[in-house]
């Protein structure tokens, strides 16, 4: 929650800083190591905008990065070209990652928001033989 400052307490202009202080090597610094300011949407959760959510099953993932490329909210977390999960604070549940996923069965599927990740992975669909 941003502090509700008075009119004389913030920087002029309709301007917000992404980081606290200076950032030297933004390209070489991963998100979790960047000092995002409270004004950055990175520090705000918009999880409640989502009605359905993706669940990631790493057993079938081939790390093709399609979902990372297609995600319109940069919510696919990839490290060293390996998909390690979904940023559930910013994912809007659009399902584009699932559409983009080329594996059979898919490595990402959409579920109701209240679905339990462990049990859904345990009951993951089998390979579709017609598609194969």
């Amino acid at each position: 929650m941003m502090t509700k400052k008075g009119w004389d307490e913030f920087e002029i202009g309709a301007m917000l800083r992404t980081f606290n202080g200076k950032i030297d090597d933004i390209a070489g610094t991963q998100q979790q190591d960047r000092d995002y300011s409270e004004n950055s949407s990175y520090t705000a959760s918009v999880a409640d905008w989502r009605l359905i959510k993706p669940i990631f099953n790493k057993d079938y993932c081939i790390d093709c990065q399609f979902c990372w490329v297609y995600c319109p909210d940069v919510s696919i977390i990839s490290r060293d070209k390996k998909l390690i999960g979904v940023d559930m604070d910013h994912c809007k549940g659009c399902g584009i990652c699932v559409e983009a996923c080329p594996t059979n069965p898919k490595s990402l599927l959409m579920f109701p928001e209240q679905a339990d990740e462990e049990s859904e992975i345990a009951n993951w669909p089998k390979k579709d033989e017609k598609e194969a």
């Binding site: 509700k4 400052k5 008075g6 009119w7 004389d8 913030f10 920087e11 002029i12 202009g13 309709a14 301007m15 917000l16 800083r17 992404t18 980081f19 200076k22 950032i23 030297d24 933004i26 004004n39």
Partner: protein
């Protein structure tokens, strides 16, 4: 990319547009994004030619409309450049949405507004409808009465607007054609002197500072919007007037030319005075001198700065005067004139017993003649003699047909 300096005569024969274009060149404006419109076009055309001829290191962006012109100026200013443009009338109307963006984002863009009537009927000549239309947009507004002032006030405007305590865009007004296309002798500064006066542009929160990334033009709702607008108004009310005074003083030191927030002419012992803006100020001064020869103690007050309104200076300039005429060169369309209201607002809580009347004149480039002003000063003297305003509070002068008077 290098650029050439230009050898100027001590006095050049320039019209107001040329004077403004030369000031933009001497300030080495980084980006001009513009769309042509009469009578302001020669300003941006002038910048473009100076650029093409190698006298400026900058960019000229040709865009599809005035809305796009100011939008591109906003982008360039947010990126961290010194930015200017010019427009008039309908162009300003189309730009008006983005003017509020520029001031709210605190981007010190300089806009040369060559004052022209607003349609309909379509008209390319001078009046102050456009100046008045955007008076609440949060821009500082200077007013040049002649080409010399168009040159000087452009240089001054950059200094004021770009100061990090100010960071507000500024408009330099001049009358369409009467000033913009009338060539007069203009005292110049050398390129080095002018640039030294304006100073190197110092970016603030620029988008090209990759070590401090910023988001410009954010959205705020009822939780933040009021605070941003309050801050902008506060800075206009509290910081801009002292800064303008400081820059005027520096400019006088450099050039000997003295500017004031309101320009007083023969006001020390004046009984009657005209308050107006633009090229009319010079005509009114000439007539005031003639009235003095006829025994009427006439004076003239011209607004040099229209926004922020120089409230204290208006009160000071008008103290002791017995009758005031507020001349508005724009149809108020259903109200008293803007200058009438500004002056009434400034004087209402003072001890003055001055009689205030308003006049609407010069719409669409109609001349304000010396005969008009002579009759007007006589009317003010008649008000003083009668101890009351003998006419209605609002009169139209110089319009054909039966006399128009209201209020």
């Amino acid at each position: 990319m290098a650029f050439d300096k230009m050898e100027l005569q001590k006095i050049e024969v320039w019209d107001g547009n040329r004077a403004a274009a030369q000031a933009l060149r001497q300030a080495q404006v980084d980006v001009v994004a513009a769309y042509p419109i009469t009578p302001s076009t020669p300003i941006v055309e002038g910048y473009a030619k100076f650029l093409a001829d190698g006298y400026i290191e900058g960019e000229f962006a040709m865009v599809e409309s005035e809305h796009a012109a100011m939008s591109a100026c906003i982008g360039a200013a947010a990126a961290g450049g010194r930015v200017a443009t010019a427009t008039s009338s309908q162009g300003l109307a189309l730009m008006s949405e983005t003017l509020y963006q520029a001031s709210g984002m605190r981007l010190p863009i300089i806009l040369n507004l060559v004052n022209r009537a607003l349609a309909s009927p379509l008209n390319v000549n001078g009046d102050h409808s456009d100046m008045y239309m955007i008076r609440d947009s949060g821009w500082i507004q200077f007013d040049a009465f002649c080409p010399q002032e168009s040159y000087d006030l452009n240089l001054i405007a950059f200094r004021v607007a770009e100061d990090h305590d100010i960071r507000l865009p500024a408009i330099v007004n001049q009358d369409g054609f009467m000033t913009s296309h009338t060539a007069q002798g203009v005292h110049t500064l050398s390129d080095d002197e002018a640039y030294a006066f304006v100073g190197e542009y110092k970016p603030m929160n620029d988008m090209l500072d990759f070590e401090h990334p910023v988001t410009h033009g954010v959205q705020t709702e009822e939780d933040w919007h009021f605070e941003h607008k309050a801050r902008q108004h506060n800075d206009l009310m509290v910081k801009v007037i002292p800064k303008i005074k400081e820059v005027f003083a520096d400019f006088e030191k450099l050039t000997g030319r003295k500017y004031n927030l309101v320009e007083k002419y023969d006001m020390d012992d004046a009984d009657v005075c005209v308050v107006c803006m633009g090229s009319s100020v010079e005509t009114a001064r000439e007539v005031a001198t003639e009235m003095r020869a006829k025994g009427i103690k006439a004076g003239v007050v011209g607004f040099r700065v229209f926004r922020p309104i120089p409230f204290a200076e208006i009160i000071d300039a008008l103290k002791g005067v017995k009758a005031i005429a507020a001349l508005d060169r724009s149809s108020p369309n259903g109200a008293a004139g803007t200058l009438f209201n500004e002056i009434a607002g400034a004087l209402f809580n003072t001890d003055t017993k001055a009689l205030l009347s308003g006049y609407v004149y010069g719409l669409g480039g109609r001349d304000l003649t010396k005969a008009h002003l002579t009759a007007l000063f006589n009317e003010l003297q008649a008000n003083v003699d009668a101890g009351k305003v003998t006419t209605q509070l609002q009169q139209f002068i110089g319009v054909r047909g039966p006399k128009l008077a209201y209020l």
